[in-house]
């Protein structure tokens, strides 16, 4: 069901836990809303959805959502989610992580989840900085940018999360932005419906830290900066950062392969 009204969104929120911990002007709320819209559009029951978060600003997302909520340790959300999904393949498991969470401290789990192709939807809130700890360098921070741990300008090259996911073998790989809500909720819907490991990198904004340290802390300007930096029409590795769906190729999914193994060995019946 396509939802529009505040009341329709509220159904999926733990409204007594609001407001969120996110700063004014932060893009994360747009991702939260796009996620709710995608879940509603797929008519998923709240009891059948698990939202697993890591640590950081993004990791707080499960607390505001009225699903089965799990807030884990830094970088390990995918590993926790893998355990849940293996035991309960009938549940839809979404994993929300930050950029540091998923490709710095959790990089090993990320590439192996891609390789294993387990049916999880990984939603990466990429704000190019460590927000919750006060604005330190992330593995996604662009060269030259200032953070509290790169005050002279970043000299490290960043990860391209989409290319990393493609290289590691994820079946569904996409990038959206908090500038384009419609496209983001559409991508999230397809990712949630995808049978296999789905990666959605969402470019989001952190006016409080990234903006402030890089002479651009106006949330409106930052949002529009995302529009200028990205190219929504061409899902290719073009000069601007491409957005859209880069791969949507189902291949044998891990819990399904495991189920087939159990069946072959005659071990069904008990779990």
């Amino acid at each position: 069901m396509l939802i529009h009204t505040a009341a329709e969104y509220d159904r999926y929120l733990r409204t007594q836990k609001l407001p969120t911990v996110w700063c004014p002007g932060c893009g994360n709320g747009i991702i939260l809303k796009a996620f709710i819209r995608a879940v509603a559009a797929l008519n998923l029951s709240q009891d059948e959805v698990v939202v697993v978060g890591g640590i950081g600003c993004s990791g707080r997302t499960p607390f505001f959502l009225d699903f089965n909520s799990v807030h884990t340790t830094h970088g390990r959300a995918l590993a926790f989610a893998t355990g849940i999904k293996l035991v309960r393949p009938e549940l839809t498991v979404a994993v929300v992580m930050g950029d540091g969470d998923s490709v710095a401290i959790g990089g090993n789990h990320f590439i192996h989840a891609c390789r294993r192709n387990i049916d999880l939807t990984a939603i990466i809130f990429n704000n190019m900085i460590y927000g919750q700890t006060g604005g330190q360098l992330a593995p996604t921070t662009l060269p030259g940018r200032r953070t509290t741990t790169s005050m002279w300008g970043n000299i490290e090259p960043p990860f391209d999360i989409v290319r990393l996911a493609l290289g590691a073998g994820a079946g569904f790989v996409a990038r959206g932005t908090v500038f384009d809500f419609e496209q983001l909720s559409e991508i999230l819907g397809q990712a949630l419906a995808f049978k296999g490991f789905a990666v959605v990198e969402v470019l989001t904004t952190c006016p409080t830290y990234f903006g402030r340290y890089n002479s651009n802390d106006d949330p409106y300007d930052m949002l529009h900066g995302l529009k200028d930096r990205t190219d929504p029409n061409e899902a290719t590795m073009a000069e601007k950062l491409p957005v859209g769906i880069f791969r949507n190729e189902p291949r044998p999914e891990y819990t399904e392969l495991y189920r087939q193994l159990v069946e072959k060995l005659g071990g069904g019946g008990q779990r």
């Binding site: 893998t82 355990g83 309960r88 069904g268």
Partner: protein
């Protein structure tokens, strides 16, 4: 007729876990625990359980906790280096009151150390390895049948107290083969996982029985200090949480204690041992008794919560306590504290990777007591 089988320690651990209803295993290969993983990889799929070879030990413990919240009886096994990596996850299991079992087959350390040599160097890490005050139950075993039984006990205690339970084995015990009577179905008690009752009024998931995710009660699980529904709190409610989860284990030391006491009644000396050292210790005590020396043996199988009461209740005849360990002195500190000056406590350590001998242990007792009967 009972089934007899020549069984390796690691094999007994794996089959003990299966006996206890373990239906999820995630692990990463490491000597000397790998056979446990290999057996689980073979047995779980054909019993309808789940086996996962994870990308590292951090993923292993994380997947185990996730699986437990999915409703599985979950375990992992590792050795020193992997056990170190699991500590953050063990803390998460402690604060989220997740029943799970972590087996650490100890090898000589620190670091890579001597991977194929035994030690008892992880005792303090098993108790205090993760940061913050926290509850954990630590068990050991001394022979192969014991490994089977203590693995079952580990699952039961994890279920009863909603805590991570660490079972400490060591390289010798893991790889040793003994002819054992395999427990028959029903012979050992297995405490089942509680399940939410359909249609019953939802009760808070923390502070009561364990409720897995996804059965119609929507709550939150978090490593943050939390309320009874798993949502973040600060200040006094956080203190209440910490005191409750720690006290639920520390206050039950007597109930959780597994031990064997031998010849304590008239003993002038007591050898306190655990794990593989209980083998030479038992031989030493038997030899000294046959010479007429009044020596007793206390074999601890629960190391934490520490069974203080056993030491408070030692007969007043005891003047000397020897604690042989394959380390430079770990559990001996707890023994000293619990004995509280009522007898002299001495440590006997061996750290070359080999087992203490009965002669070393008996010799040390005689040095201190003399040959006086």
């Amino acid at each position: 007729m009972k089934t007899q089988q020549l069984m390796q320690g690691n094999e007994a651990c794996a089959f003990g876990a299966l006996y206890a209803g373990c239906n999820f295993y995630a692990g990463y290969p490491i000597t000397p625990s790998s056979e446990i993983m290999e057996i689980m990889a073979r047995e779980l799929p054909r019993r309808g359980g789940v086996f996962l070879q994870a990308e590292d030990e951090i993923a292993s413990i994380s997947a185990v906790i996730g699986a437990a919240w999915g409703g599985a009886r979950a375990m992992t096994a590792t050795s020193g280096p992997g056990f170190s990596l699991m500590q953050e996850g063990i803390g998460y299991a402690a604060i989220t009151e997740t029943p799970c079992v972590v087996v650490d087959s100890q090898r000589w350390g620190p670091s890579t150390g001597q991977p194929t040599k035994a030690a008892q160097g992880d005792v303090m890490q098993a108790i205090w390895g993760t940061h913050g005050d926290h509850p954990v139950i630590v068990l050991t075993a001394g022979h192969v049948r014991d490994v089977f039984e203590m693995t079952v006990a580990a699952f039961n205690l994890a279920e009863l107290y909603r805590v991570p339970v660490v079972l400490l084995l060591d390289e010798i015990l893991s790889h040793m083969r003994e002819n054992i009577f395999v427990p028959e179905p029903g012979e050992l008690e297995v405490i089942p996982r509680s399940r939410p009752v359909n249609g019953a009024k939802p009760v808070a998931p923390f502070g009561g029985p364990f409720i897995p995710l996804g059965y119609g009660v929507r709550f939150s699980v978090t490593g943050l200090a939390h309320d009874d529904w798993g949502f973040p709190v600060e200040g006094p409610p956080a203190e209440r949480l910490l005191r409750r989860i720690v006290e639920k284990v520390w206050s039950k030391a007597r109930e959780i204690a597994r031990y064997e006491a031998l010849y304590l009644d008239d003993a002038r000396a007591v050898v306190v041992c655990y794990g593989i050292v209980s083998r030479p210790a038992e031989s030493a005590v038997e030899a000294l008794r046959s010479e007429g020396l009044k020596v007793g043996l206390l074999t601890l199988k629960t190391l934490w919560p520490f069974p203080d009461f056993l030491f408070r209740e030692l007969p007043t005849t005891v003047e000397y306590v020897l604690v042989p360990e394959l380390n430079l002195g770990q559990l001996v500190r707890e023994v000293e504290r619990a004995v509280g000056g009522r007898a002299r406590v001495e440590h006997l350590g061996r750290v070359d990777g080999y087992l203490l001998t009965p002669e070393q242990i008996a010799g040390r007792v005689v040095e201190n007591l003399g040959r006086r009967v």
